[in-house]
């Protein structure tokens, strides 16, 4: 995609990004809130709406992540996330400074078969089937956060760099996929410069910077998926060849290179989970919520089995049939699996917007809890800022559904456009591409109708 605007032309922004203090300072800030969330989970009130751990993790953070950060800034959250912080700082034996020598770790090799996001897919599903419990019980949320940080530290002892973020973190998986749509990218200005630059400082590091902790060579970077926007390459590049650009939404979805089945499955899982969450948490089926909430173990087991089946079999299965139809209708001479994977990327905008629409429903309704929780983060009756007694006030209840419907229609159009462009990559003629788009569009319309049914009742 050539239509982009280089943000790093700003000397001020470049100076900030090149500062070694910038990223750790933000990580320490998020670490502060992270610690408060864990403390609130373990010691605060179990009433979720009065607990910082629930309100600021699952409403405030989630809203910022899915509505603002991912669509507009890609993996920016990964750059400031506190979870990998302790592990990374232990490896580096420092927080800000560039410590001489190699990273401190046992330097095991990450298994080749796991160099994909399958672990993240299954990790997300494992969290998702317990989501009703995690989202409502502060103690469980605290254990989850602490567990993730501990796992990050453990992996950083065994493996160099951010193996946890790249291959394990269940949140990082979908942030990576959805950052394909984002309007910000980190890219090299001239790939030829990187090709001719033999020392590859961005990969091996310099005395001022570490090599890419995400194990990415910026010279080959064409998609946002695995770039954590830490700006180490920006600091390292002696050629001043790394830039952060503003670009059209969804540009990476049209990059054929790098598409893979694990990412396609991530698209299915995220789309299915957005629908299932909407059904469980917003739908009128009390029994379903009870099952998800582990009313009894057999009921939850049935729910979990259904949840996994829909994620791993039903949605991918239906999409496989859709792909077959597209291939037949358009007479595309491309292996079905290739088409299946490629077309799956057309679900990314729909999925992201489905999540945003789902998030609107509880962010607008329950967001006001954040005001009182800010003053009384543990539900202990504190009143730090005098806002403890601010009553729960749903914001713009009439507008939420309008926004949801509007967003879903935008998402549908966006996804259909991407489906057409992907078709065009395989079709010889425009007509052939349109015919290939039809079945996929039908699938997308079906998904939109499911969302509308769930939101409109």
């Amino acid at each position: 995609m050539t239509r982009s605007f280089e943000l790093t032309r700003s000397r001020w922004l470049t100076a900030v990004l090149k500062s070694r203090l910038f990223q750790p300072a933000l990580m320490l800030l998020t670490m502060f809130f992270f610690v408060v969330a864990i403390l609130a989970g373990f010691f605060g009130t179990p009433a979720g709406s009065h607990n910082f751990g629930i309100i600021f993790v699952w409403i405030v953070w989630w809203a910022l992540l899915i509505i603002v950060m991912v669509p507009f800034f890609g993996r920016m959250w990964c750059a400031v996330c506190p979870i990998p912080g302790p592990g990374e700082w232990l490896q580096r034996r420092g927080i800000v400074r560039r410590t001489p020598g190699r990273l401190l770790s046992l330097r095991w090799r990450w298994p080749r078969r796991l160099r994909n996001i399958w672990l993240q897919n299954f990790g997300f599903l494992a969290v998702a089937i317990f989501s009703t419990i995690i989202l409502t019980r502060p103690g469980v949320t605290a254990w989850l956060l602490l567990g993730m940080m501990s796992l990050g530290v453990a992996l950083s002892i065994l493996y160099e760099n951010r193996v946890f973020c790249r291959y394990v973190c269940p949140v990082g998986g979908f942030i990576g996929l959805y950052s394909l749509t984002s309007s910000v990218e980190l890219r090299v200005k001239d790939a030829q410069v990187c090709k001719e630059h033999t020392t590859k400082d961005c990969v091996v590091g310099t005395e001022h910077s570490y090599g890419c902790p995400w194990m990415v060579f910026p010279g080959n970077l064409e998609r946002n998926t695995y770039c954590g926007l830490c700006a180490e390459c920006l600091k390292a590049c002696p050629k001043d060849n790394v830039a952060i650009n503003l670009r059209p939404f969804g540009a990476d979805l049209l990059v054929a290179k790098g598409r893979s089945l694990d990412e396609a499955y991530k698209a299915f899982i995220m789309l299915a989970c957005a629908m299932l969450y909407s059904a469980v948490l917003l739908g009128p089926w009390g029994w379903l919520k009870n099952w998800a909430d582990m009313a009894t173990l057999p009921q939850w087991a049935a729910y979990a089995a259904g949840f996994l089946a829909i994620n791993l079999l039903v949605i991918p299965g239906l999409f496989w049939l859709t792909t077959l139809a597209a291939r037949t209708v358009a007479r595309l001479r491309v292996p079905v699996k290739r088409l299946f994977v490629d077309y799956a990327y057309s679900l990314v905008p729909m999925g992201l917007i489905g999540w945003i629409a789902f998030s609107f429903s509880f962010v607008f309704v329950n967001g006001s809890y954040a005001v009182s929780v800010l003053s009384d983060p543990f539900g202990w009756g504190w009143d730090l800022f005098g806002t403890r007694s601010v009553p729960w006030t749903p914001l713009l209840p009439g507008l939420v559904i309008v926004l949801q419907v509007g967003l879903l229609l935008v998402g549908l159009a966006f996804s259909m456009f991407i489906a057409y462009r992907i078709s065009r990559q395989h079709a010889r003629t425009d007509a052939q591409a349109w015919r290939g788009t039809l079945p996929v569009s039908g699938f997308l319309v079906g998904v939109t109708l499911v969302f509308l049914r769930l939101y409109l009742g």
């Binding site: 750790p24 403390l39 010691f43 009433a47 927080i95 400074r97 190699r102 005395e207 002696p238």
Partner: protein, 376 residues
């Protein structure tokens, strides 16, 4: 690709230099400062928060705050379910409901009802309990099949003698009397005779007035009426010459004659919050909790099952065979494995008697009772 080998100097083979970024010139002091910040966040922050809340704050606060989680019994019930406070000290009880809506009240005889506490909500109340003894906080809103188990105790001790054993339950003369008379309050009872239609208090009042001194003397004694069943009173009235239907009407009147409207109103509110979930708002034993109780009974093994369906107060064949003191005893002591909880720790004796009086209104037509009393 081999990653993270030895760092290269700034001026590499390519010849281009690179300068440290903005704010990067402070050196080791900055690194130290950042580590200090990290230690502040990971160690000092938690210690400060927890130390303030659990050590300093109780010492500074004028009122002791006790946080109580109100969860359905299946999820642990009240946590904690027992608190100990000195007599005369003001304490703030903060109830939070993490799961479903609960109704929180404290008894007996305190008249403290916080109303509904919805999921995620926190409600608090300041109480000063002056007399040593044992009080009960309980849920009075149907919250789960085991709702009636949702109770906790407040033990109020004498600050002058904090190690003294808790004040034991005051003996109940009614229960002692039943025991002395050898009456098994759990024994099944069946009235030999039942009225053809619901006995009318209004008609009964006219009959009793007409009978005047011909009314058997025993029936004029409130204590006798408390300790005997309506069917016993009915038999003596039939013997005195009333028809069967007239005798039932007269019994209906005699059984509610001492009940005033205010007492009935209090009892109605207590019944609605504490009894209707199982016994039904109409007293017919078909409350929303009845099915759960039946299911619990079915879950028990064979003949060992003692859980019963909630009793129907509208069924004259069973209701008219029992006496007020037996119903009083059942209320206060509970149904011994039948699923009927013990309300002794929650209600005062006076509230319990009022409830018993209210129960008779299900089997007797007392709609015009207040008018009748006024006329009398």
């Amino acid at each position: 690709m081999k990653l993270m080998s030895k760092p290269r100097p700034a001026n590499t083979a390519s010849g281009e230099g690179q300068r440290p970024g903005l704010l990067d010139r402070a050196g080791p002091r900055r690194e130290l400062a950042v580590w200090v910040v990290l230690v502040l966040i990971l160690v000092v922050l938690p210690v400060t928060i927890l130390g303030y809340q659990f050590v300093l704050r109780p010492r500074l606060s004028e009122v002791r705050v006790i946080d109580i989680v109100a969860a359905a019994p299946e999820a642990g019930g009240f946590q904690p379910d027992a608190v100990r406070v000195p007599a005369g000290e003001r304490v703030r009880l903060r109830f939070s409901a993490p799961d479903v809506t609960h109704g929180i009240a404290i008894g007996p005889g305190l008249g403290l009802d916080l109303g509904h506490v919805d999921p995620g909500q926190v409600k608090e109340i300041d109480v000063t309990l002056d007399r040593p003894g044992r009080y009960v906080f309980y849920c009075n809103s149907w919250c789960s099949p085991n709702h009636w188990r949702m109770r906790g105790t407040i033990e109020v001790y004498d600050p002058q003698n904090p190690d003294a054993p808790p004040v034991s339950q005051v003996s109940d003369p009614t229960l002692e009397s039943l025991a002395a008379r050898g009456i098994d309050i759990d024994a099944p009872r069946e009235a030999g005779a039942v009225p053809a239609e619901r006995p009318s208090v209004g008609r009964g009042a006219a009959l009793v007035e007409r009978l005047g001194k011909k009314l058997p003397t025993l029936l004029t004694d409130p204590e006798w009426r408390r300790t005997h069943s309506p069917v016993e009173a009915w038999a003596s009235l039939v013997k005195a010459g009333l028809s069967e239907a007239e005798a039932w009407d007269a019994v209906a009147y005699l059984w509610v004659v001492d009940v005033d409207a205010e007492r009935l109103q209090t009892a109605r509110a207590l019944y609605a919050k504490n009894c209707a979930a199982c016994h039904g708002q109409a007293g017919n034993g078909e409350g929303p909790g009845a099915d759960a109780l039946t299911a619990q009974g079915a879950g028990q093994q064979g003949d060992m099952s003692t859980i019963q369906d909630p009793g129907s107060f509208t069924d004259p064949s069973t209701m008219l065979a029992g006496s007020s003191d037996i119903y009083y005893a059942k209320l206060r002591r509970g149904g011994m494995g039948t699923g009927m909880p013990s309300f002794g720790p929650i209600f005062t004796p006076e509230e319990t008697w009022a409830l018993v009086d209210y129960l008779w209104t299900f089997v007797f037509d007392a709609e015009n009772q207040s008018d009748v009393k006024a006329e009398n």
